[in-house]
Symmetry: C2
Subunit: 283 residues, 2 copies
């Protein structure tokens, strides 16, 4: 591999660029972004080597598409249109069904691999890019059988060099489950932040009372709306289902409190405590 | 100060004991606990110097009451009954109105100081005790004027030595605001954990898909039901109010999704992003 093109040099693409530069010192990393400031920041921070345009993609060994999921669905066919026959294109978005459908009948479908590396922080932009973001993280690959075998191998080598473990899943299952273990968390966090800000807007210094527990539960409310609005839109049906179940559980908890049924409340919390075992190894 | 008695040698009392032992090497730290294993663990871990009983409290310079809030309301009057005239008794529970009311007319009310150090982790028991848990944290003191001036000074010296900053507040305001910035976070976390566990119980390996964002939002669901059930019970009215507002906001979010109003969703998230500024300095 001689060169790699990162479309979208934010947290996700930028962190990937940093890892590529550190693992493969001879590979040249190009950045493409519609935000000129991000490109300049990425060059200044040595996240990418140089900027490029779609016209250059015919020379690409590998293209990483790391842009909001609505843009990915729109841009991926254009990227496939201009690459060479041996270029691998990988997308890394948080929804997989729409992007797979967008190129289902594209003549270069076999040059494309749909992935979702479960990695990130609540920050965004090239300044948020960090080394080793992907180390020991899970990467979910969808419709692997639709990608040329040689290009699959190329992608797996990269993921292995980045320290990731691989799971294969179909796009429908991915989008359904990720709604529970990722998308719902973001909404619960945003709405928790909203509830507290609304209530306490005239008493700002009350936030002195907030501790690390509050900080942890609202951390995701710092996330970028530019990234998350398209995710909720693309995964609408699944996300609404998780939200409905969450609201039912919260309402049930409230009703138990109203009827002083603290024994059931105790038991519910006790049962949920085994989330400990589930979380082991994630954080 | 020659000796200090910690009633309840768990995370909170144990961490306080560790700091006292490190800041005041000449002070002897005694532990009282109805869990004999906790007492033995606390001695073995050098969290306390020795165990004691209520009969010893007549010799105490200072007593820290760090037990679940329902037990605190029940035990505090008994403690005040047996201490000397110069003993300072401090409680550190997460609700303040019930404990203040429990000793409102006690003849030794002036020996008591109601506090809430905003510090903790999701773990519990003496093995969870850590040094410097209280450093740079806020301690909320309620009804300071009801405590003898000399004993106020003694308490403030301790808190200062532990590195805490002090805020004064009345018990009603404390309980109302803490419901928003602490108690609601715990319920949102427990119910998020419950929703995901229920949905995914037959697909345990789906949790491979969970990342650090999910871990952060459900961290508090590891908390002890023994500690939290009494808190929700004592702060029932305030907590129900926060839950109702939270449910309204979540339902509104769901309705906006159903009606494809993603512009408003974007704006809601954008507005909530300024939680960043609020959180600065907490975590």
């Amino acid at each position: 591999m001689k060169n790699i093109y990162i479309i979208g040099v934010g947290l996700i693409g930028g962190s990937l660029a940093l890892d590529v530069k550190s693992k493969y010192p001879n590979v040249k990393v190009f950045g493409i972004d519609n935000n000129e400031t991000h490109l300049e920041d990425a060059i200044a921070l040595n996240v990418i080597d140089a900027k490029a345009t779609y016209n250059d993609l015919q020379h690409a060994d590998m293209v990483i598409l790391s842009i909001p999921v609505d843009a990915a669905v729109r841009e991926l066919p254009k990227v496939l249109d201009v690459i060479s026959d041996t270029t691998l294109v990988i997308d890394v978005g948080s929804t997989k069904k729409p992007v797979c459908e967008a190129v289902e009948h594209h003549s270069r479908r076999r040059n494309f691999l749909a992935t979702h590396p479960i990695a990130g922080t609540e920050f965004s932009g090239p300044k948020a890019a960090i080394n080793d973001l992907y180390k020991h993280k899970t990467n979910i690959i969808c419709e692997v059988e639709k990608t040329t075998f040689k290009l699959q191998e190329k992608a797996l080598q990269l993921f292995s060099d980045l320290g990731m473990r691989i799971r294969y899943m179909n796009p429908e299952a991915h989008d359904k489950h990720i709604a529970y273990v990722s998308h719902l968390s973001h909404i619960s966090s945003f709405m928790l932040g909203k509830t507290v800000i609304e209530k306490e807007k005239n008493e700002r210094d009350i936030f002195d009372m907030a501790g690390s527990g509050f900080a942890s539960t609202v951390r995701l409310a710092k996330s970028s709306p530019d990234m998350w609005t398209p995710i909720f839109k693309q995964n609408k049906t699944n996300v609404i289902e998780t939200l409905e179940e969450y609201i039912i559980n919260l309402t049930h908890f409230k009703d138990m409190m109203k009827s002083d049924d603290f024994e059931t409340i105790y038991n519910e919390m006790k049962n949920t405590n085994h989330i400990k075992d589930i979380l082991e190894g994630i954080a």
